[in-house]
């Protein structure tokens, strides 16, 4: 028997206080019927004797204390899973949004998940070919990795995530692949762009979407990534699929969390975000991975916009502390119409060494990216010097490196959003670009590899 309470005593921000409640449990979800008969959903944040603090996903607008009825459902928030979720679109709290029928759940899973036992993890080490040179060649992604995209307002992160969803494959294996997409506070246009892109390629059949748009209730965003990861865990670890999860945009998620924290009058941390933001984000990001004895995997690409392009802002900062690297978008490259504008030097895939080499990509991969990276770093310095002193002031050496950097940007970085390069194409392109240097300058590459792969020695 569910007891119904009409004892709301306070409403503030996205929160509501209900009094005289018996048997409430921390974290349980509640149904809220407001004066006009419509329903909202909430979750218990704190129970203090008979006083219960509830966060309301759809917001408190239009709620009054007197006519609101609250029912406690005695369970945490859940999502009903079955293979039928593939091809479906849900809202931010998991209700069908595509006009289709309700999903007949095989089982209901707690969306908060459980921590993965570190002993149960399998180390991510299988190379994923994304077809994007700056990622495959220089910052390889592996199955089970969490690799965020640090973007900024007005930068084309939607294009690059769509490209990733379209092109990412593990080569030579006929395994089943799925995309789970969680939109948090992004525009209708951005969400539609992604959906259309998946539809065009037919990938939509293997996709599950959770959509919370910019004009949807902000507090829902707390649940959205957890819904998405619950779906992903089911598909990966019970149905054996290779799942790519895209969370876009985590900055909006963090703002929702900040709003609740402010309403609770918690001591604010940096920029008003709560002190537990790191832990909260970790309970989302750490759900990526591979597990011993399971075929599937969860690879995660969170997208976030850095306010003022500031990498030290709490959202990118704490994300970077949890994820296994970061792909950073560059406004300067974007202005030069280089696409995708990946800022190679500060980008990093921490698991790169685990997924490449002889049996995985090619034996020259590691030496090659070290050399390309070093040469580009030097070329960038020369580029900068040239803007200050003029090109003529550069030493012949520096001029050569600058030329390399220009070529590298124009050909290696810039490839557009629809060119899908195999890893061999990416690697060979690297060699071709390096051929402008004397062999003796290529200090980071083993001499034997130069003899084998440098274009002039081939064939």
């Amino acid at each position: 028997m569910l007891k119904e309470y009409q004892t709301v005593s306070e409403i503030y921000g996205p929160l509501m206080l209900v009094e005289g409640v018996e048997g409430a449990k921390y974290g349980e979800i509640v149904d809220i019927e407001i004066g006009d008969g419509s329903m909202r959903h909430g979750q218990i944040l704190q129970v203090d004797r008979d006083k219960v603090m509830v966060q309301i996903f759809e917001g408190t607008e239009g709620i009054d204390a007197e006519n609101t009825k609250v029912r406690f459902l005695g369970k945490p928030m859940e999502f009903g899973v079955s293979p039928d979720i593939l091809g479906r679109v849900f809202d931010g709290i998991g209700k069908p949004k595509d006009g289709g029928p309700a999903v007949i759940a095989k089982k209901r899973m707690n969306i908060n998940g459980n921590p993965i036992n570190p002993y149960a993890r399998n180390f991510p080490n299988q190379f994923i070919q994304t077809g994007i040179s700056t990622i495959d060649g220089l910052n390889p992604l592996v199955r089970g990795q969490k690799l965020p995209i640090f973007s900024g307002a007005g930068l084309p992160h939607d294009e690059i995530t769509a490209q990733l969803a379209r092109q990412a494959t593990v080569r030579g294996e006929g395994e089943s692949f799925a995309v789970v997409f969680a939109a948090m506070g992004i525009t209708f246009e951005a969400a539609q762009f992604f959906i259309d892109d998946l539809t065009d390629t037919g990938a939509i059949e293997r996709a599950v979407m959770f959509i919370n748009l910019a004009n949807d209730p902000a507090i829902e965003r707390i649940a959205t990534p957890r819904m998405a990861l619950t779906a992903a865990e089911y598909l990966a670890f019970e149905e054996g699929m290779q799942v790519l999860v895209i969370l876009n945009d985590m900055t909006n998620y963090c703002e929702a969390l900040r709003e609740i924290s402010a309403a609770r009058k918690e001591v604010p941390g940096r920029r008003g975000y709560p002190g537990y933001l790191y832990t909260d984000l970790a309970t989302i990001y750490e759900r990526a991975g591979r597990l011993k004895g399971k075929d599937g995997s969860i690879t995660m690409i969170p997208v976030l916009t850095m306010p003022e392009d500031d990498k030290t802002h709490p959202v990118p900062d704490l994300t970077g502390y949890i994820t296994e690297g970061q792909i950073i978008m560059s406004r300067a490259l974007h202005r030069k119409s280089i696409s995708p504008p990946v800022d190679v030097l500060p980008s990093l895939s921490r698991l790169k060494d685990k997924g490449i080499g002889e049996d995985k990509t090619r034996e020259d991969h590691a030496d090659l990216y070290n050399q390309l990276y070093a040469a580009y770093a030097r070329g960038k310095e020369a580029q900068e010097l040239a803007t200050i002193l003029g090109e003529a002031a550069l030493s012949p050496e520096d001029q050569k490196y600058m030329k390399f950097a220009d070529e590298f940007e124009a050909r290696y970085i810039s490839q557009g959003y629809y060119e899908n390069r195999t890893i061999e194409v990416t690697l060979d392109l690297g060699w071709e670009l390096l051929s402008m240097f004397d062999d003796s300058e290529l200090k980071r590459i083993d001499v034997e590899l130069i003899k084998k792969y440098m274009p002039k020695f081939r064939k």
Partner: protein, 588 residues
């Protein structure tokens, strides 16, 4: 005793639960919370009202449910079976949790820290009838090929040993008795317990006076840590804190390593679990895992257990120290520990100090690092043990004014400052040579058996630092007026510094040979670099063109010297002859 006191939950706020009717309870008593018997610890008492931090997820727990006091503080089990284990923050074996629960950690399991079935071969080292005191060693168990586990009389127990026999025992079986003057018998077992928040005692503290060799060149030669010393590694994300910690755990010349993964990535612990058993200890030729205890309370695991993990780790480390061993503890990252403290404090509605951290943050950090040290252990035989602590710190945005960094710098004696700039240039370890420091540098010379060699190493280290400081000044001048304007001598300094940075300080953790460099090889490489410098300066004096010196072929040999296997050490020393030959060939 506070055992069996039973109260009722009145409030649940995240990891903190408040219960009433808990009168008689003591601070830090462990309690079981709710119908599911979650494990918690009392962290505040007001009258009969207790605030409890719960080590497991509290979702689904509510007012009215019972709380039962176990009467004991949070303790660890100490005895054979610790080595090669992987535990969570409250010493639950993660491998056994996996067997029991599968991939995800669920609630309410209280698996003991030490296996109850394993039999250990015990050999007494004292005769029956011997009078013993707490801390005295009564016998040994060969726990792993790398660790001889000393069985000690528990603290506070005094009397005459009876019935002590060699044999095969589980950790709970009685191996003998200690009979006190009053006739009271205390059973001796292979296992004892210790409350984690109480430091284990020692007879006397001594100042650290010996270098803990890590095989990491920038550390050993420039900013060494001592046995019993303390060090911190702060830096923004991606600068190499974890790699430094892993490298130390792998190569440090300690007898036991306790590695605490505190609120960091799950995959990093998996990495350790998969890699360490494959790595061979250079000193003994045995797998490294045979001297390691792992604690993993990753960022997605409950925060209260994360708070406890650091104490669980240090207590285990102290226990091995008390056997007379040199123990090294790595904590990655202490910032996540501090954040766990902050989260609990917030839920307790304590008055926050800076950045929302509790006012006692500094005191907690200081008393944690105070548990490091070189000591005379309690009990006989007389022995010395050492416990070194190396803590990673993860300041927001890499800002060193952060409360945790500042509180840590107050107490630690070694500071390895990781710079984002160096990491981005892929100069690893990204330890900044200009701002880092070590208070233990004077002991560097004693690492060498040969006194002269030791003195020379100390001098070379000092000279290199002076050169690197000159480099920073010269670089400024070059930036302002161009490279042509400085003297040939100064250009030699710049070239030598480049060589020190790229050929000595830079060290690739993932290269088979480069990952570890013996102190003798460090000496040889540095000596070759500085020999070239000296010879170069002399050549410039005799009128040799500087660019000819910079173009010498031998410089490539120096650049590759760190990749020369230890077995071929003579080759590194031989580089100096090549330098002399090539220098002589230069015309003046």
């Amino acid at each position: 005793m506070s055992e069996n006191i039973s109260g009722k939950i009145v409030k649940v706020a995240g990891p903190v639960v408040v219960a009433e009717e808990m009168g008689g309870s003591r601070m830090y008593d462990v309690v079981r919370v709710g119908e599911e018997n979650l494990i918690g610890e009392i962290v505040e008492l007001h009258g009969d009202c207790a605030s409890i931090q719960v080590y497991e997820d509290t979702v689904g727990i509510g007012p009215g449910e019972k709380v039962v006091n176990t009467g004991a503080p949070l303790s660890v089990e100490l005895g054979p079976g610790l080595i090669s284990s992987i535990y969570d923050g409250i010493q639950r074996p993660l491998d056994q949790l996996y067997d029991l629960q599968g991939s995800y950690i669920k609630r309410g399991s209280a698996i003991p820290g030490l296996n109850r079935e394993t039999k250990w071969e015990f050999k007494p080292t004292i005769e029956n009838g011997t009078k013993v005191f707490g801390g005295d060693i009564v016998g040994e168990v060969q726990e792993s090929t790398l660790l001889l586990h000393k069985i000690m009389v528990p603290a506070g127990v005094t009397g005459t040993v009876e019935g002590l026999n060699a044999g095969s025992f589980t950790v709970e079986e009685v191996i003998g008795n200690v009979v006190g003057d009053d006739g009271n018998r205390t059973e001796l077992k292979l296992m004892q317990k210790w409350a984690v928040r109480t430091p284990r005692m020692s007879k006397k503290r001594l100042a650290p006076n010996e270098i803990l060799v890590t095989g990491q060149r920038v550390v050993d030669a420039f900013f060494p840590i001592a046995k019993g010393g303390t060090a911190c590694v702060p830096g923004p994300f991606g600068t190499g804190k974890t790699v430094v910690q892993h490298q130390l755990a792998k190569w440090v010349n300690a007898d036991v390593v306790v590695y605490v993964g505190c609120g960091e990535r799950g995959n990093e612990m998996t990495d350790v679990l998969m890699e360490f058993p494959e790595l061979i200890d250079p000193h003994s030729g045995e797998p490294l895992m045979k001297r390691v205890v792992l604690l993993a309370n990753t960022s997605d695991m409950p925060v209260a257990a994360r708070e406890a993990s650091v104490y669980t780790g240090i207590t285990i480390a102290e226990y091995f120290r008390d056997m007379g061993y040199s123990v090294a503890l790595m904590a990655d990252s202490t910032s996540r520990w501090a954040e766990a403290m902050r989260e609990i404090s917030t839920r307790l509605e304590e008055m926050p100090a800076e950045e929302g951290y509790p006012a006692y943050l500094g005191a907690r950090i200081a008393s944690f690092y105070e548990r490091a040290g070189r000591v005379v252990c309690t009990g006989s035989p007389n022995r010395e043990g050492a416990l070194s602590i190396i803590g990673a710190v993860s300041p927001p945005g890499g800002d060193l004014s952060d409360s945790v960094v500042q509180a840590t710098l107050h107490v630690v004696k070694v500071f390895w400052s990781l710079q984002g700039r160096l990491a981005q240039q892929r100069h690893f370890p990204a330890i900044d040579w200009l701002t880092s420091y070590s208070f233990y540098k004077q002991y560097l010379k004693d690492v060498f058996e040969d006194v002269d060699k030791g003195e020379e190493m100390a001098k070379m280290s000092q000279l290199s630092m002076i050169l690197l400081e000159q480099e920073a000044e010269l670089a400024e001048i070059v930036r302002l007026v161009g490279a042509e304007s400085i003297s040939a001598k100064d250009r030699m300094v710049l070239e030598t510094c480049k060589s020190i940075r790229e050929d000595f300080l830079h060290q690739n953790a993932f290269h088979k040979v480069d990952t570890h460099t013996s102190i003798d090889k460090q000496y040889e490489i540095l000596k070759s670099i500085l020999h070239l410098h000296e010879q170069g300066l002399a050549a410039i004096k005799r009128g040799v063109e500087a660019s000819e010196i910079f173009a010498l072929k031998v410089r490539e040999e120096i650049a590759r010297s760190s990749f020369i296997p230890e077995k071929e050490l003579a080759k590194v020393a031989g580089i100096r002859d090549t330098i002399d030959v090539q220098m002589k060939a230069l015309s003046s």
